[in-house]
Amino acid sequence: MSADSKPAQSGAPEPWQVATRLRWKMVSGVLTDPISLLLLAVGAWALYRGAASLSGEQTAGPLLVSLSSLCAALVFATRYADRLLFGEQDDKFLRVQALGPLGLYRVRCEELSWWLRPLVLLVAAAGLGTSGWFLALLSGAGVALLAPTGIHCALLLRSATPGMNRILPMAALGLAAASLYLWADVPLRADKWSGWLPLLPAGAMLTLALTCRSLAAKSYRHRFAELASKAGEQDRHEPLWPWRVLGRCLPLATPIQARLTRDLILLWRGWDGRGATLLLLSPLSCIYLSDSLSGSMREGAILWRVLESAALGSAAIAYAAGPNLTVLRSSAMAWSRCAPQPGRYELRAAVLYGAFFALVHGGLTLLVVVTTQEGRFAEHLGALCFPVLALELFVVHFSVVYSMAESLGRRIAGEGALILALAFVAAGLAVIAVLYPPGLLGYLLITLGLAARARQRYETLEVTW
């Protein structure tokens, strides 16, 4: 029994342990969600491939990949610790319980370590792609022990730089990403120590994590009460212009414009973490494309490889715009369901949302084709434009329509079926694009019935929440 909490009856768990178990019941549902696990596996694979492609021999790549991935983990731990300490819904409930002076710290530390578990896998995958198992294990261990460090950093940032606690971690992350982009190819002098360089950041992270284990508790004791009180006084205002500007930039029917503006603003403000992750992961397919194009390829093989990359990226976008958006929107569905023509406008707004990101991704894919190997494949651009953009748009369209028609109101089963259907549709579209590109237009005819079913499903679903 600890000295800082109420004495527990013999054999009974201490109050903070009860609170921790309660939190685990909430968090485990998210962490063990089959879709999240699938996304994690895909993310780990993409990071492994991306890290491998950026880690050229005798270059700064391996060091910078290791540094950037660990920097990203530290930023995540700091930002998430800040949210757990100052922004959780149950914060006020837990703070008035007799958990003891360090009770809440323990609860949040445990919780942060659970949220770091997926990150352990992602950072280890990047480490594996960079320089093998040893770096993977060292980086993974550093991240697994990062919870107290995250809390310590969050408290330090809040007290040392009031108002900047959000910007500074993001600036550090931007700096790491920029250095990776700019200097990954810079050659390093070949000597016997160069192979050990990527281990330095991982070793430093592990040392920091071990050092912060005791510092974080002290920091919490000294700073938390005052900072929490200040956080409660803060009034968060947002400017009016984003809504007005988006409204003017989107020349659409008002009901579609309102839905689209809402979705974009909510995405920007971090309300849709999973969607944002998927959208950020989607350009990784371009790394795959630039790696896999080779001069000896025939035209058909080039087209196939480009379509493969477009399908991978657009599948991530499709997921963000399809089931993900459907689930997010459903919490406040009553508002749009009571408005005129909800099915039609909801469907169009979601398709346009996905289409915007799909077109950006399609443009990036074509840009990679033009710039890879000093423009060697640029001559194929004319033949690639239509199939690539059509594939991107149709994959997103299918995901949105299918999600509304089939997975609205039955999340996991619907999402599982979508993954299979999406793979089938993407492959089918790619085959048609290779064999007879104009045939892609037939997709729109085939899915007319599905789109009508999606609208009807949205308008007739019984909203009991």
């Binding site: 947002e238 409204g247 309102a258 309300w271 009553a334 408005a339 005129p340 909203v463």
Partner: protein, 255 residues
Amino acid sequence: MIKVSQLSKSYGRVRALDDVSIEVQAGEVLGLLGANGSGKTTLNRCLTTLLQPDSGTIVIDDVDVIANPETARGSIGYLAEFPVLYPSLTAWEFLSFAAGLRGIPREQADQRIERWLQLFELDQAKTRRLSGFSQGMKRKVALAAALIDEPKAVLLDEPTNGLDPPSVYLFRQVISDLRSRGRAVLLSSHVLPLVQQSCDRVGILAGGRIVAAGSIEQLRVAADRPQADLEDLFMHFAGLNQEMIERLAEAGLRR
């Protein structure tokens, strides 16, 4: 304006609404009283097309809601008992969203939003995220969103939950204004003084059935209790009096 005839709705084996018939005229406020689980929210959801009834008819502004939900939705404003707002949006953004859903042109929407925000004393907080709003402030935003399109039929489900006395007074004035502008208002509430002060007629819902409907005077006559207040009448018609006395006696709280 609102006419419900022989409406029934079941959730599996539970009969939430059983042959319910009510009518609200234009310029009239009908109070709907009922214990928890009596079917008030289910009735509201059927009226707003969020639920499909098993049988019966609903006509709002001469439009059959079940046959033509599209047309009917344009005439209905609905404040849910627990309205879900996007916590990351500001009050102004949420109201712009609500106005946009109804296709209100931007300039007109801006004017209406400013008017509602001023009325509810939220103009200083309009750029604050809704996550920082109190329960009462959220309720005001939700009411403004429900009324932004100036609907002909207004359905209010427990509108004064979490409101302080000045806000309740303000809400009463809003309801009175809706009546004077010829709107049909269906007000479901547990707050008996609010119903007594705001409503022209009262319907009492118990076990999914309308057990009594009429003005308070008519209910007194029907109950044969000339001096009874609304609480007595509600307990009488909902059959709660005897049941409650027995429960209290069982719990040792009443001899």
